[in-house]
């Protein structure tokens, strides 16, 4: 920088003042400088647009501009140029005002010697540079903040990257920025994924790689390969930039800074920034932009994580939905099966009910028939035999017959006697008249006595509440038959020493218990073995038909107990039945 001549533009309407100033500067020892002098603002503005200057020395009182307006116009025209205002002593207030408005310094004419003026110029340049740098850093800082904010709102990676590029351009004022991803393909391509700023087909010519080849040794390839920031200070002179130089210069790019995007210490891409100024990036700005690139890399990772998370979540949701669907389908299927099962059960129940009806009718018919035959035997045959016997007696007593005839008559009487006994027994066995005439208690007591006598086993009979109020005849018959069957089982299998028969009426049910102290058995085996052995209907069927329940409790060696419980719904039939 020191080697280049300091380019000074002086705007001064007084030729003598201008000459004096130039003289003073030359004497001050300021190293070589180029001095351009114009006399009015219009000419100054024109000159500024045409060439590059390091500093502007500005007299405020010009033919076409005066006072405050002069420095405001100058600053607007060349915002990055250090400006030193020259004023008369009376303009000191304006001079102060000028400094407040971005002017670097002011000199009062005639009061400063050459050395002071030279120092003021150097300081003005330095101050302006520092100020400019600060502004750049501020802008970059803002970009950093904005890009972080962008991340917060970003839904999608490419959207985020575009946004970041836009922010870098807008906040920092660079020429162009692009973000490229390092592809793991054969050519190690760097694929541009987002950009902002002026490019005009630049990417079509780019062909950057991150391989260690000619097109990979530019700043972008280098940054990706090394994982460290890389830059091209001046594209016109940097030999490594040769492959892209022509196209870049066409678009006004002069320098570039490339920041690698790192994840877990490995670069997966880069942010490349082009500037229109050579050697544009200060160390401070590089640090800030490195931070920004770090944030961008994190942002990308965050978005990818978010995406992955969302995807996983969506996956889980879908799986859950599928599961729910499957559960619903399964449930529906089950309910269908259940329905058909219910239908089947209902059908079965109907069939069973029909079966029970038939059984009930059969049982009723059997009992009726037994009763009829029993009465027939009793009332007709029995009575006829009674008449026969009485007549035989009379004949024997009235006539005087020969002894053999007497003997025959006696034998006939005995025969009639035996027949009567047999018929009575047969009638009782078929259907005990006592059950109809006197009720269940009397019938059971009689049966118990008979059974005990026949089997030579003591039987304890106990009844409660069934004598005074009789049960429905059908139920009495059922309970009578069940007792008969239970006791028949005891005879056949139990080898009992003592038997209990308990008949008790409770408020809502009647309970019949037949218990023996015999060998006992396994209830399941016995239940299946007993089926089919006993009469038309087994005990259980009879109880079921009466709407009751039957339980058998038996332990080998500890006897067997049959519990029958039949609920009572209707009022009992009262009194004797004729």
């Amino acid at each position: 920088m020191n080697s280049a001549p300091l380019k000074i533009l002086l705007v001064e309407d007084s030729p003598s003042d201008a000459a004096l100033l130039k003289e003073s500067l030359t004497q001050s020892g300021l190293e070589h400088f180029e001095f351009t002098h114009v006399e009015c603002w219009a000419e100054a503005a024109k000159t500024l647009r045409q060439g590059h200057f390091d500093v502007l020395l500005l007299d405020l009182s010009l033919p076409d501009s005066a006072g405050r307006d002069t420095f405001l116009q100058a600053h607007a025209e060349a915002p990055h140029l250090p400006i030193v205002v020259l004023t008369g002593i009376e303009d000191e207030v304006i001079g102060l005002d000028a400094v407040r408005h971005g002017i670097q310094d002011y000199l009062i004419k005639g009061q400063a010697d050459g050395r002071q003026i030279a120092r003021a110029i150097r300081y003005a340049i330095e101050r302006k540079q520092a100020e400019e740098e600060l502004q750049k850093l501020n802008r970059t800082l803002r970009a950093l903040g904005n890009s972080n904010q962008a991340l917060m709102y970003a839904r999608e990676e490419s959207e985020f990257l575009e946004k970041v590029c836009k922010i870098i351009i807008e906040d920092c004022g660079h020429a162009m920025v692009w973000i490229g991803y390092a592809e793991e393909d054969e050519g190690k391509t760097v694929r541009p994924v987002a950009h902002a700023g002026f490019e005009e087909g630049y990417f079509d010519t780019l062909k950057v790689t991150w391989a260690d080849t000619e097109r990979g040794r530019g700043p972008t390839g280098t940054a990706i390969r090394t994982g460290k920031p890389a830059e091209c200070r001046n594209m016109l002179t940097d030999p490594k930039f040769k492959p892209w130089r022509e196209e870049a210069i066409k678009r006004g790019y002069i320098s570039s800074l490339v920041l690698p995007l790192l994840a877990a210490g490995k670069s997966f891409g880069a942010v490349t920034i082009y500037s229109r100024e050579p050697d544009r990036f200060s160390n401070d700005e590089k640090l800030l932009l490195t931070d920004l690139a770090g944030d961008v890399a994190n942002g990308i990772m965050t978005i990818r994580m978010r995406l992955l998370h969302a995807k996983t979540e969506a996956e889980l949701l879908r799986e859950r939905d599928q599961l729910e669907t499957r559960v619903r389908e399964r449930t529906a299927e089950l309910s269908r099966i259940n329905q058909s099962l219910q239908a089947e059960i209902a059908q079965r129940q109907r069939a069973e009910e029909a079966h029970r009806q038939v059984l009930r009718r059969l049982a009723g018919a059997e009992e009726t028939e037994r009763g009829r035959i029993s009465r027939e035997l009793h009332d007709r045959l029995g009575q006829d035999l009674t008449g026969l016997k009485l007549k035989l007696q009379l004949i024997r007593k009235q006539g005087s017959f020969a002894p053999p005839v007497q003997e025959s008559l006696g034998k006939l009487e005995q025969l009639a006697d035996g027949l009567m006994r047999d018929i009575h027994r047969l009638a009782w066995e078929l259907h005990p008249a006592v059950l109809d005439d006197l009720g269940l208690e009397a019938a059971l007591r009689r049966y118990a006595t008979e059974w005990s006598g026949n089997n030579r086993v003591p039987l304890d009979f106990h009844s409660d509440g069934v004598e005074a109020h009789r049960l429905p005849l059908q139920l009495e018959t059922t309970l009578y038959r069940i007792t008969q069957e239970a006791l028949t089982n005891v005879t056949r299998h139990a080898n009992a020493k003592r038997v209990s028969v308990l008949l008790e009426r409770r408020p809502d049910h009647v309970s019949l218990i037949v218990e023996d102290d015999g060998g006992g058995f396994d209830a399941g085996i016995q239940a299946s073995a007993a089926r089919g052995k006993l009469g038309l209907l087994g005990m259980r069927e009879r109880v079921t038909l009466a709407g009751g329940s039957l339980e058998i409790e038996s332990t080998p060696g500890a006897g067997t107990t049959v519990f029958v419980r039949v609920p009572l719904k209707q009022e009992p039939v009262k009194g004797l039945k004729s």
Partner: protein
Amino acid sequence: MKKLRILLADDHKIVREGLRLLINSQPDMQVVGEAANGREVLVKARELKPDVVVMDLSMPELNGLQATERLKAERPEMKVVALTAHEDESYLRQLCKVGAAGYVLKRSAGDELVKAIGTVAKGGVHYEASLASSVLAKQMTGSPVKGESRASELSEREKEVLIMLAWGYSNKETAGRLKLSVKTVETYKLRIGEKLGLRSRTEMVQYALRQGWLNETHTFLPLDR
């Protein structure tokens, strides 16, 4: 000599005929009327005022038992000899209750009936020997009273088990209710029997009744199975 006046009640003509011939063959007896059903007996009895009614038990309209009951209520002095084919002490017991003085099986009709008529006419009773003895035996002795003095030997738990069993619960239900195992209930049951000398479930129930253990109202709740 005044003959005993007999009314015959039987729905069978042949039987009535036989009976009439038999009774009339006795020098001191005379059949004064016959009835074929329970209602007719009542009417004829009022009308004829017999000394003895020979009553068949199985008759239409009113059976012999019901007819006897009404007859005795109307004319307590009239004697009834029941004639039946039923060899059943329950009938005998019922007939005793309503006031029949004689109970003769048709099988034994003839000499036994004649004897019975004679006996009841004199104010005695004549019951079929085989049935009467068993009825009397039970009435006299009842079932022997057991265990009473030994009630205190039962533990509280045994007493609970006994009461449950007496209410008619099965071993399983008793076990469920008292939170015992079925095996334990079985053991308790055996021990209770041994302690009190009770030989069967019936004796246990009767014992519990006599102790007054079944007096309180009990809601019978079988176990859900």
